[in-house]
Structures are given as structure tokens and as C-alpha cells.
Amino acid sequence: MNVVDHDPPIHQEGKKVRVSLKFPIGHYRVPTYIRGKEVRIEKNLGRYINPEEEAFGKNAGSKLWYYLVSIPQKQLWKDYNGADEDLLEIEVFEPWLESI
């Protein structure tokens, strides 16, 4: 029997997306350094309560997809000093990742 996921993930592994350049107030888990950057979806990490809402007391209810994303360090920092292949990986929730 095929189970229909009424809330499928938007992004697939290997896809290039952009981390939104936006400014919440109160709480967030997306550091400024990664905002606006183009990243690659490495892995779908499943669903979890949105930390921005969890921080204000939400402990149950609908969960959001979140992803492990990567970016080459030389693309992230203008002055990066290291190997061309050096990589950064970070976990980001779906509302912060825009298709490009």
C-alpha cells in the first residue's frame, strides 16, 4: 500500500538551494554567516519541531523537514585560507532554503 505523504520534503539530495537572507527577531538557528549563500543539499535529516517555535514553548505539533547542507569554504569566505576542497556542513530547516 502506498502511503501518501501530505507534507513531502521540498528539496532532494544533490540539489542546489539558497539560504534565505532574512532577519527574524527573538530566536533563530541559522547563523548570519551562511545566509544568502548557495548550498548543496547533502542529506534529508527528517522532521523536527521548528526550533524557532520550540524556543517559544511549542513542544508538539507539526514538524518541519530539515537538511544537512554543504558549501565549499572558498565560496563561503572571500579570504579563506586552506584547501580548495575544504567544506562546511550545517543543518538548516526547510523554511530557510529557497529553490534556485
Binding site: H27, Y28, T32, Y33, A55, F56
Partner: protein
Amino acid sequence: MSSENLVKRLPNDIAGTVCSDKINIVERSLYPWEKRCHALLDVLDYHKIVNTEEKRRGTESIGTEMAAKLSYYEKWIVSASNVLLQKGLISPNDIANKTKEVSDRYGVTL
């Protein structure tokens, strides 16, 4: 510097900012009160009385001066106090009365 950056950028959101200081490669074991504080926040998270994300928000919302001046666990206990107050689980007077009782117990003046 525009004050709006203090609103938009949380005091813990510092990665990639200018820093020429070396890593101070030190560590020490926790003081007993710090370990009790850690255990307290773990228990509060387990019961979802103060979840871990609320605790994090609490350590961020104290602003840059307190974030810089309070140590790691000092921020934790102030955060827990504020979140408990915000949720109406304890009152400012509960804290005032109990801290007076505890400080009297130890002969400390607040």
C-alpha cells in the same frame, strides 16, 4: 554602529566575525552548583517545563552586555529563571523570597 544590529543579530551569532585572539585551550571541571544547574536544565527539558531551545533563547535574550559578562552556567540559570517567569510558573516574588531565605541560610548578603 546602527542599533538595529543589536536587535537583528543575537549575541551568540558570532561565527566569522573579526577575532584575532588565540583559542584559550583550558578546561576545568564543573563547580558543584554548575553541575546541579546542568542537571536542573536537563530535568526541566525532559518534562518540557523549560525545553532546551527555550533555554537557548533565554541565554540570547539577555542582551550583549550580560551575554559577555556572565559565564556559561550563570547564563543558564538566569535563562531558566526568566523562562519560568515568562510562563507564569514562578513569580518575581517567589525568587525574591527564596533567594533571601537561601542567602540567610548561608550568611550571605545579597
